[in-house]
């Protein structure tokens, strides 16, 4: 290790310029997979001693949080092994929300307070139980209350986290028909009578809506009763 560092510090003529070293560093960094010395040699000034250069670079990085690793004759940057406590490869990547979940979420956002039946009516397809679960788990959708209508269906709405995640100050910041049209998200052909609802102010209960209670949730099997494990 010491000899490598000596190589790096020397001001004696090297087999590579600073420019070559910086370029090699950038090339390895930007590459999606480990790069071979031959590949590097093609992209560095003629006559560059790539092996020597890479060793010097490796020495530079030896004590950093990022190391230059050699795998056979290929090179790659990796976070230092002793920091693996902080960085693991095996964890789940953040998941992309499915198309169905996006649609349901958007309907809840625009049409809230909205019941499940109404969501299905708007989408024209049944919503699978999992979709709502995902949105609840993400913390973007909540039970708001119950509609004062036969069966007293539960109404759904969005949460504060929803606004935070999507960069909205309030739910009324959602763009309306004209703006969706203007942005090219809705095409010009819109049937007469087509409208996009203006969501109510946050936290405002609709006239035909009662706030939801813990008891409601348990009764509906939406929340496991404290103690038992009813699988609704």
């Amino acid at each position: 290790m010491e000899t490598l560092e000596a190589v790096e510090r020397d001001n004696a003529p090297r087999a590579f310029s600073e420019e070559a070293m910086r370029t090699a560093e950038a090339l390895v960094f930007a590459s999606a997979s480990p790069v071979s010395e031959n590949w590097l040699a093609d992209r560095l000034p003629r006559g560059t001693d790539v092996a020597l250069l890479m060793k010097a670079l490796q020495a530079d990085y030896a004590r950093r949080g990022v190391n230059l690793m050699r795998v056979e004759d290929h090179w790659a940057f990796r976070t230092a092994p002793d920091l693996s406590f902080h960085i693991r490869k095996d964890d789940q990547e953040p998941k992309k929300l499915s198309r169905a979940a996006l649609e349901v979420l958007a309907i809840i956002a625009y049409h809230q307070p909205v019941t499940r039946a109404e969501i299905e009516d708007i989408r024209g397809v049944q919503t699978s139980r999992g979709t709502l679960d995902v949105l609840m788990e993400a913390g973007w959708v909540r039970f708001r209350g119950r509609r004062r209508s036969p069966g007293r269906p539960v109404t759904l709405g969005t949460t504060r986290d929803f606004l935070d995640h999507f960069g909205l100050e309030e739910i009324r910041d959602l763009p309306g028909l004209e703006e969706l049209k203007g942005a090219g998200l809705l095409s010009g052909r819109i049937p007469p009578g087509f409208s996009i609802p203006r969501p109510p102010m946050d936290e405002e209960m609709a006239e035909d809506e009662d706030p939801i209670t813990q008891l409601d949730l348990e009764e509906l099997g939406l929340l496991a009763p404290t103690g038992g494990d009813a699988d609704a």
Binding site: A30, K95, K96, Y110, A138, F166
Partner: protein, 280 residues
């Protein structure tokens, strides 16, 4: 006096301006020989005067523009409304520049209007330059690169979901549109709809040009002779609606006289009971 026609029209439509117009844009681009709207055309005309934008001869510019529009009409080129609205505005500007300002007139003087025009041209040009300076920067994915083989860092919380507002809105819009199945096909109109007329009036009077005769400017530039009746009817009907919303004011000195319009206070009529600010 200005020298109308100092720009050969053929040249404007010819290869020259088209050449530097960059990539094409689908559909709705209003394209008169490759110009992107009336301001773009005016900017081009102004540049060909080869002087500082702040010192262009506005009158000459107006003449050139109006002549351009006339030529387009002669060859029955269909011009987008934006160009015609601008023509009407410029024709009005020209009249204001030529006729001395009346004392204590509420309307902006010709010079003020000319300054507005020069300002808008300058501002558009500034934005063009800004755009090219932006693209001249070192750009990520072009000149500068991010880590090619990112490593994942676990979130503290269990499951994380990703979606952008754009994802959300485009999913919603596409789904609603798909669900709104309709067989209605709308026949192409050759009359002005109320909505068209309203849009055009708003554009024209949005720039606060003072009392303007509907017949003189609107009709002359906005319509072909055969459409005048429908245009007048729609424009008039739309104007009444706009008056009610406070966006427009109308006056007519005598029966069958010119109908004059100008932009309104912006307050709907119902809300104006207190503090009448002396509007005619």
């Amino acid at each position: 006096m200005a020298e109308p026609g100092s720009i050969p029209m053929d040249k404007l439509w010819g290869e020259e301006p088209v050449a530097d117009r960059g990539e094409s844009e689908p559909a709705l681009v209003i394209d008169v020989g490759g110009f992107e709207g009336p301001l773009d055309l005016l900017l081009h005309l102004a540049r060909s005067q080869k002087v500082d934008l702040a010192r262009i001869s506005v009158l000459a510019l107006v003449e050139q523009y109006l002549e351009f529009i006339e030529s387009a009409r002669r060859v029955r080129l269909e011009l987008a409304a934006d160009y015609l609205v601008m023509a009407a505005w410029l024709a009005y500007l020209k009249s204001r520049l030529l006729i001395p300002q009346q004392k204590n007139s509420e309307e902006p003087s010709g010079e003020e209007m000319a300054a507005t025009l020069a300002f808008r041209l300058k501002r558009l040009e500034a934005m063009r330059e800004a755009a090219s300076r932006l693209t001249g920067r070192s750009r990520l994915g072009v000149d500068v690169f991010s880590r090619g083989a990112p490593e994942h860092i676990p979130e503290k919380a269990g499951m994380a979901f990703e979606a952008s507002l754009y994802d959300l809105l485009s999913a919603y819009a596409a789904m609603r549109q798909k669900q709104a199945v309709t067989q209605v096909t709308i026949a192409r109109r050759d009359v002005w709809s109320l909505a068209d007329a309203r849009e055009i009036l708003l554009r024209l009077f949005g720039s606060d040009i003072g009392w303007t005769s509907l017949d003189r400017y609107l009709n002359r530039y906005l319509t072909a002779p055969e459409d005048r009746v429908t245009a007048l009817a729609s424009a008039f009907a739309a104007s009444l609606e706009l008056v009610r919303e406070g966006k427009l004011e109308i006056r007519q000195a005598e029966a069958y006289g010119d109908i004059l319009m100008r932009s309104g206070s912006g307050r709907p009529i119902g809300e104006r009971q207190e503090g009448n600010d002396g509007n005619a």
